[in-house]
Subunit: 246 residues, 2 copies
DNA sequence: CTCGAAGGTTGACAATAGTCAATCCTGAAC
DNA sequence: GTTCAGGATTGACTATTGTCAACCTTCGAG
């Protein structure tokens, strides 16, 4: 594969501790592929033949059932996705669709599975990665079950502010309809909820979020470390939405 | 620890492939503890010092937030729980509460973390276990986001029948209020939903479930392999509700 | 056998969330 | 600039789900 992406990939928690020779071997078995926007690169139910690493662009992971669908996560560079399916040699549980022009490094799942038997540091890294991903989804499930949509929106807005460095204003990193789907609600409901939240410490102007009364918003969002994080090295494993920038 | 529980534990996917000496070492560092019914043995947020293995009784894993709580899983013998927290050396994300008198084997998390660096087969087993757990939670999250409560109940009833061997009648393995919480709804709503489902192929008599028209129920539940399984060796990792028996 | 506690059920009502349709941006192509 | 397409918003309405209170079972303790 093209070596120019190697350094970024090498720095991922998943790969940084393994022997250089082993990393090089994995990379030499891999290849890069570019996809146009809006393309379904993976369909849920397909066999998991490759670990995917986003090196450019962004990918939406969606769950589908009975003609409905919901966004489970958005993956931004540089991070991996669908590691678990590769390891289990099982069908993908989610469909992956590019949001923009995207470059992906594809690592054959079989090489991956062989490698963690040979390289202990890699095995440990995989263990840590999976444990993080697991915890991340559990947090998500808790948020979905314990909070109503208004509380989820408030939590999201507050958390994005914190992720962006505690700034009082930032721009939403994804389209609202995608955010709505991620939060488990309809775009219409999100739109209305954002409006009503203006009495609770946030001002919304298009994609711009301005936190006018952090304490008031927090009283509603009730941020909780065990749901909203922070969790170490979870951000590079494609189990949430990308962070905002102020 | 008491050796009489060793054989059952040894047969778990997590432990069956490791070297006998290493298994013995882990067990010798562990100890058994018995808990009365209704006891909170773990509180969410506590540091994860021990991998827990249920050898007798049953344990409910619940998520809590803002005074609310929901059941995430029920763990029955013989299976492990909170592996991920132990590995990450991070706080538990869920509270664990005994449903009945329960015996637990406690394996020190530090020994666990040391062991998978020494025993490759154990490391591989941990990887597989975590990947399975991860996929299990993703399935759950999909069910919660894509289905309404009526569909979740129908899916649950149908799946239990399949897990019990495709039988037309079985007994619910848990109390209805617990089931309601697991399915993300109130007991009242579950009660009403069960009643209305009688026009769709299931008869409910107390804790007894009789499937009168499987096709009709399936048309509503729309069972999906990517949500409802089956998934290999997921049942022993405490990421769902126990299976029913006819 | 009686009693009492706890789970389960039911009814009435309120809150929450989804649907459908119309309209309003907004930004990219021409 | 103009046009057009797609996202976002709004209104009106419906469906779903939760809340509160009352009541009914069931089952075990005494």
């Amino acid at each position: 594969m093209r070596p120019d992406t190697d350094p970024q990939i090498r720095h991922l928690h998943l790969f940084r501790d393994m022997a250089q020779a082993n990393f090089a071997e994995l990379m030499s078995a891999s290849y890069v592929q570019a996809f146009p926007p809006g393309l379904e690169m993976i369909r849920q139910g397909d066999p998991a033949d490759f670990l995917h690493i986003v090196v450019q662009g962004s990918v939406e992971l969606v769950g589908q059932w009975a003609g409905r669908e919901c966004t489970m996560a958005v993956v931004r560079p540089v991070s991996t996705f669908i590691l678990a399916a590769c390891i289990r040699d099982a069908p993908y549980l989610m469909t992956a669709r590019t949001l923009e022009r995207t470059r992906i490094v594809l690592v054959p799942a079989s090489d991956l599975r062989a490698m963690f038997r040979r390289d202990t540091e890699f095995a440990v890294a995989v263990i840590n990665e999976l444990a993080s991903c697991y915890r991340s989804v559990v947090r998500n499930a808790k948020s979905m079950k314990l909070r109503n949509s208004r509380e989820r929106v408030a939590s999201y807005l507050l958390r994005q502010s914190i992720l962006a460095g505690g700034v009082p204003a930032y721009t939403l990193p994804v389209e609202k309809r995608l955010l709505a789907s991620y939060l488990g609600m309809t775009p219409e409901n999100l739109s209305r909820t954002l409006r009503t939240l203006e009495t609770d410490g946030v001002k919304i102007d298009g994609a711009r979020v301005i936190i006018t009364d952090r304490a008031r918003l927090a009283a509603l969002a009730k941020p909780d470390k065990l749901i909203d994080g922070p969790d170490t090295h979870a951000e590079e494993s494609g189990s949430g939405l990308p962070a905002a920038r102020s």
